[in-house]
């Protein structure tokens, strides 16, 4: 005999331990089962796109740091690419290599947080999270060497990077690249075959290939569903066509695949860094660019593969010192649109880990 039950509405967030910032969901539950959810955006809205219209092209770079604040380097990168495309600036070779190294280091750091936070949502009480932070700390130290900052780096400039890396950077990077695979293996030994993690994450929150493409998802969320799509390969920007690396993909598109794809991508990023370290030439790190850039009238869209997915900057210039319009394509927001389809029919505990496996940053969603 089935008891008659009545659905009730549970408000998750904006202040909740697992909403990765100030995200809010209005979840309709039937007991423990999620009937429906309704995401509510806007708790971290700062009007970045509008602010950008009143700033010089260089002055916007610190704003981009604060979009997806756990992968600030990638935001800098995407924005600078857009301005360079708009103004037709050629970046020196050495700067390109430094940019790629920074972007890949940042990718590893962001995936460390993503995987750690996902496992934290699974209920592994902070242990994996803090272990991942131990490694992220080393990357942050590297960034501190080059930029003096530990979270919002503001390192890249239109036409290059702000300054060349210091001498002590290279041995430290070499040490990190040599040590890191061992730590990734250590995490895998701890968690990859963990019975509870398998039971919790395998087959949960499946996003099929078709659903993922229809939602225009990108990044690890899309690749976990089995689509081999990585902008570094599909539409190479900067100098990514010179490196050899694989695109790890999942098979099913469940939470476990998303977790695995991120771990594998860390290994691929290390491969890219190693190649870049071997190839890097000497020379200037910044093109001759005026302080106040006045790009010709026109528009440009540049996109990169950020840790969350396709991060795009669309700039319209009216030949003044500030863009007429700056639009940002935030991968977190677009990936999140698939959340509703993924969580319906699962339990509250699954809702949390599915949400965690998408890996969002609220700073980017609300801009």
């Amino acid at each position: 005999m089935a008891l008659k039950t009545e659905p009730f509405v549970l408000n998750l967030g904006p202040v909740h331990p697992s909403t990765h910032g100030v995200f809010r969901m209005r979840a309709t539950l039937d007991g423990e089962v999620v009937v429906d959810i309704e995401p509510v955006f806007g708790y971290l809205h700062r009007g970045v796109e509008k602010l950008a219209e009143q700033r010089t092209y260089t002055g916007i770079i610190p704003l981009t740091d604060r979009l997806d604040y756990i992968s600030a380097m990638n935001n800098n990168f995407a924005y600078c690419l857009a301005v360079e495309k708009l103004a037709g600036i050629k970046v020196p070779e050495r700067a390109e290599y430094i940019r790629v190294i920074m972007a890949e280091l940042q990718r590893i750091a962001a995936f460390l947080i993503a995987v750690g936070a996902f496992l934290n949502d699974c209920g592994a009480y902070f242990t994996p999270f803090l272990y991942m932070f131990r490694e992220r700390e080393k990357i942050v130290d590297l960034f501190e060497m080059v930029s003096g900052q530990r979270l919002t780096y503001n390192y890249m400039r239109v036409g290059g990077v702000s300054q060349d890396v210091p001498e002590e950077f290279w041995p430290a990077l070499r040490k990190f690249v040599d040590e890191m695979p061992r730590f990734i293996d250590e995490y895998d030994r701890l968690l990859m075959q963990n019975e509870i993690l398998l039971a919790r994450a395998k087959g949960v929150g499946i996003l099929t290939k078709e659903q993922a493409i229809n939602a225009s998802a990108s990044g690890p969320v899309l690749r976990a569903s089995g689509v081999k799509w990585d902008i570094r390969k599909a539409d190479p920007y900067s100098i990514y066509d010179r490196f050899e690396f694989d695109i790890p993909t999942g098979t099913v598109g469940d939470c476990y695949d998303r977790y695995r794809v991120r771990v594998e991508e860390m290994r691929q990023s290390l491969r890219i860094i190693k190649q870049a370290m071997a190839q890097i030439p000497s020379g200037p790190v910044r093109a001759e660019v005026p302080h106040l850039i006045r790009p010709p009238v026109g528009e440009a869209y540049a996109r990169i593969e950020s840790p969350k997915g396709e991060l795009g900057f669309y700039l319209v210039s009216d030949n003044s010192i500030a863009p007429y319009r700056c639009h940002i394509r935030p991968p977190s927001l677009i990936n999140l649109t698939a959340l509703r389809d993924m969580v319906r029919g699962w339990k509250v505990a699954d809702l949390i880990i599915i949400f965690g496996s998408i890996d969002i940053t609220v700073g980017e969603i609300d801009r």
Binding site: R134, A199, G203
Partner: protein
């Protein structure tokens, strides 16, 4: 001789509980041990909170609290002072009486469990001849307090947490009791003191499977990881005590650790030979063993992710319950075969049986991932 009907409750307590040669008589004995138990539990709670926070710090490659006092030893005191000074907030929609009463209802049983636990030979508040039955009965009363907290807060997170807790306790009580029955069969007594005296071979060796069943079910009863989904902070904020603050929150915090100590103490008494041990004084052995068991709980907490509510129920009914029944059957046969007391050879037999059973069960009969809802 008096007929049973003529005995009043006082006489019964006297007859059953007090060793005849105890100095100070019934009331002196009662007063002494009440003070000892409260002091013991409160001190141990502070100790285990320190151990948990520092131990977890070590395991998570960080330091843990180290600012208050030498090595951060005074951190639990600082925490206690902090919660005492906090404002007591009651939600407007709460059922005031239930909300107020819940911490008390939850706390009292956690303390009462210690009445029958022997700190050394005969040193206990009441040597009940049904000691272990009393423990099982009293320990499930806490659930009433937890559910009152969940219901009285009129908060959906609290209610979800309380529901999970009731479901878990009702299910895990059964393997818990069945694991105890194996011990009782070998010891031939329900009195905890007698059970300790019977452990010439510690029962963890004679009953390895029973030990693991009891440990798992015990962890589930007291919301320790990986069964901590009643207060899963990443899902339902803090579960049933989401709406509690100040001293009432501290009471729940105290209950949580008092119960953890109680389960550790019961495991120590039933499986690890209680206060028995060479060289050191018995009470010290008892405390060392309790802390060791607690440390094992901290270890699992830092290592394992959390399981889901349906997996929790499936684990109780499809894994622990059948294994407990099989364990009981095997133990009964062994007790029948060696009525004079189990010899050492049984240790090897039982360890082998445990290994084979767990292997077979986890390969063919039960996987955590099975039986999830399909979409």
């Amino acid at each position: 001789m008096m007929a049973i009907a003529d005995l009043n409750i006082n006489d019964m307590v006297r007859l059953q509980a007090v060793p005849p040669d105890w100095p100070g008589g019934f009331w002196g004995h009662w007063l002494f041990f009440t003070v000892v138990i409260i002091g013991f539990v409160l001190t141990m709670v502070m100790g285990v909170i320190y151990i948990e926070r520092r131990g977890m710090g070590r395991m998570q490659s960080r330091l843990g609290p180290n600012r208050t006092g030498p090595f951060g030893l005074l951190q639990p005191v600082a925490d206690a002072v902090k919660v005492l000074l906090k404002e007591n907030i009651v939600p407007t929609a709460a059922d005031k009486l239930v909300h107020w009463l819940a911490p008390v209802v939850a706390f009292a049983p956690a303390l009462m469990i210690f009445a029958v636990i022997p700190f050394q030979n005969g040193a206990m508040l009441a040597d009940l001849n049904i000691g272990i039955l009393y423990v099982v009965a009293i320990s499930s009363v806490s659930t009433v307090g937890v559910f009152m907290a969940g219901w009285g807060s009129s908060n959906k997170y609290s209610l979800l947490g309380a529901m999970r807790n009731v479901a878990a306790v009702v299910s895990y009580e059964i393997p818990l009791v069945l694991a105890i029955v194996g011990v009782v069969l070998i010891a031939g007594s329900l009195s905890l003191n007698q059970i300790v005296l019977a452990q010439d071979i510690p029962f963890i060796l004679l009953q390895p499977l029973g030990f693991f069943l009891f440990f798992a079910a015990g962890c589930a009863e007291i919301n320790r990881s990986p069964f901590d989904l009643m207060e899963a902070d990443s899902e339902i904020v803090a579960g049933f005590h989401t709406e509690y603050s100040g001293m009432k929150f501290a009471m729940f915090y105290l209950v949580e650790y008092a119960e953890a100590i109680a389960i550790s103490a019961i495991i120590t008494t039933l499986f690890l030979g209680g206060w028995r041990g060479p060289l050191l004084p018995p009470w010290l052995w008892f405390i060392i063993k309790v802390l060791l068991v607690f440390f094992a709980m901290v270890w699992t907490r830092t290592t394992l992710p959390r399981i889901r509510i349906d997996q929790l129920m499936a684990f109780a009914w499809k894994c622990l319950f059948p294994l407990a029944i099989i364990n009981l059957l095997i133990t009964a046969l062994q007790v029948l075969a060696w009525p004079a007391g189990l010899p050492w050879v049984v240790v090897i037999i039982n360890l082998a049986i445990m290994a084979i059973l767990i292997l077979i069960w986890s390969k063919f009969f039960f996987k955590l991932g099975w039986g999830r809802i399909e979409v």
